[in-house]
């Protein structure tokens, strides 16, 4: 095919228009009828007396078919580093996030009271893990859940770095990078795993495994507007505190506690044993990385206009100069 100048310019013009299109296209924001969950810490007792909290065991059973199936021959160092992340021999761990454990319960004593906090992905409204994945294999749906396409993820673990709670966890030796790592061990490190809010169950009108199994009914799921209203109601009625409404720019997971989250977080940090359970999963108040940089984002979006205006201005002044001479 021969590209004529006219065709080329038409193409360039069309491309220019496309660059401006997102600014006028209507966006699908998190809808009031998307899913949200409420975790009531005044009800959760961490399944006192049991070895494993029921939400944790229900998740592990319900999700076992999605957990990584590792071929040990595929476990290789992340060249040129001398390490790889393998959790396949540590499937029993239930006190931290791992590719085989998507929910765990933190327990801490605050003001003489034992607080149990089920922790899993917050399913953020503007999730940096999704938005910054270089291959776009993490998805946020308008229905609320944030999930990973395990068939395409090759485990760079950037999502874990940018998650304020380090939720996604990596398993080496599985996934698409195993197709090339033997010949070209330069990219990929496995697959990332985390809670997907049982989106398959939600699509069938069912409730996520962890919530169904909770004997105290401490976790409830519903439409966002209704859950947020319920959370605000609890806060007001019990003079308590909410967590997850604004953290990281807002999330779909709201915690209610009769004790302030600042106090719980201080106690969590003080009792955390990094050697035992890895990096802490705090209850802090992180600012959303993407929203923090929104001025820079806006600058990049108006750049085409700046370029066009400059070009029109300069050509006009050149014409005026030519006419004068």
């Amino acid at each position: 095919m021969t590209i004529s100048r006219r065709t080329f310019l038409k193409g360039a013009g069309a491309a220019g228009l496309v660059t401006l299109a997102p600014a006028v296209r209507s966006e699908a924001r998190i809808g009031p009828d998307s899913f949200a969950t409420l975790i009531d810490l005044s009800k959760c007792d961490g399944c006192d007396g049991r070895d494993t909290p029921l939400c944790v065991s229900a998740c592990r059973t319900g999700k076992k078919d999605i957990f990584p199936q590792v071929d040990k021959d595929q476990l290789r160092d992340y060249w040129p580093q001398k390490k790889y992340e393998d959790w396949s021999d540590k499937k029993h761990l239930i006190d931290r996030f791992t590719p085989y454990n998507w929910i765990f319960v933190q327990q801490v004593e605050v003001e003489g009271e034992k607080i149990s906090i089920p922790r899993r992905c917050m399913h953020c409204d503007n999730p940096p893990c999704v938005k910054l994945c270089p291959f776009g294999v993490k998805h946020k749906t308008a229905e609320g859940p944030v999930y990973i396409d395990h068939s395409l993820c090759f485990g760079g673990a950037k999502c874990r770095t940018v998650c304020p709670w380090q939720v996604p966890q990596r398993q080496a030796g599985v996934g698409i990078y195993t197709l090339w790592q033997k010949y070209l061990p330069v990219a990929g490190g496995g697959v990332m795993y985390k809670c997907d809010l049982c989106r398959d169950l939600l699509a069938e009108g069912k409730t996520p495994h962890c919530m169904v199994s909770c004997p105290k009914k401490a976790m409830t799921i519903g439409r966002r507007e209704e859950i947020f209203k319920k959370a605000e109601g609890l806060k007001e009625a019990q003079q308590g505190y909410l967590y997850g409404m604004d953290e990281n720019g807002g999330t779909s997971t709201i915690y209610f506690s009769p004790i302030s989250f600042d106090k719980i977080n201080i106690a969590l940090t003080a009792s955390h044993d990094q050697k035992k359970t890895g990096r802490p999963v705090p209850l802090h108040t992180p600012e959303n990385l993407l929203e923090k940089q929104s001025l820079w984002t806006q600058l990049s979006l108006i750049a085409p206009i700046i370029g066009v205006v400059a070009a029109v201005g300069l050509t006009r002044s050149e014409t005026v100069k030519k006419e004068k001479t």
Partner: protein, 210 residues
């Protein structure tokens, strides 16, 4: 004394260098968006400990993208309004480019060229289309970062994938562009992008139709 003739105006040279420098920044900060610099010990290079910090490299990427995008849009509109289309490909350019590449390595003679050789027009088009793809996908990627905006996940997956792969292609084209200029018979063109002037004898030999 060597006689010269003007090849590139000041506007063209400034636009070129703005695109080149912002392009280098985009490549560095863009590769920084892949989890590479920690794995490959770039952070161990003195002064580059910050390179694995996505927050820093993302700000650099936005800033460089704004400069690059503005310069590319300026370039397109400026030359369109001046009706300067000499660098756009013409019928038969692909065949002539192959002959031109052969001549670069001493296999055959240079063809009768205008201001831009056939291979230069083809390369310009390839780099141009790659840049436009990067800009379009990059703008969509920027837009969705503005707030709690949920676009179709598959659209975003394709945008991210195309942007990342095209970024790799852009780097190869950039390296090829620099490497080609270092070839002996292309070196006399280098001053033209700095002073704007080119050796008249070289121009008459390589661009007799200009």
């Amino acid at each position: 004394m060597m006689t010269t003739r003007i090849r590139h105006s000041l506007t063209v040279r400034i636009t070129h260098w703005i695109i080149a420098l912002s392009g280098i920044l985009l490549l560095f900060s863009g590769f920084g968006q892949l989890p590479l610099y920690k794995r490959y010990y770039v952070i161990k290079i003195p002064g580059l400990a910050w390179s694995s910090n996505y927050e820093i490299t993302l700000v650099i990427h936005y800033l460089a993208a704004a400069i690059f995008t503005a310069a590319v849009c300026f370039h397109l509109v400026y030359h369109y309004r001046r009706r300067e289309f000499g660098i756009l490909p013409k019928r038969g350019d692909i065949g002539d480019s192959i002959k031109g590449f052969k001549a670069m390595f001493g296999l055959g003679d240079e063809l009768h060229h205008e201001k831009f050789q056939a291979k230069q027009r083809i390369i310009y088009t390839i780099i141009g289309v790659t840049s436009l793809l990067l800009i379009v996908t990059g703008l969509i990627k920027s837009y969705k970062n503005l707030g709690a905006i949920v676009l179709d996940p598959m659209l975003l997956q394709w945008m991210a994938f195309i942007h990342t792969i095209t970024g790799g292609i852009f780097m190869m084209l950039f390296l090829a562009h620099v490497a080609a200029l270092l070839l002996k018979n292309h070196r006399p063109m280098i001053p033209s992008m700095i002073t704007g002037k080119i050796d008249r004898e070289y121009a008459e030999k390589h661009h007799p139709g200009w």
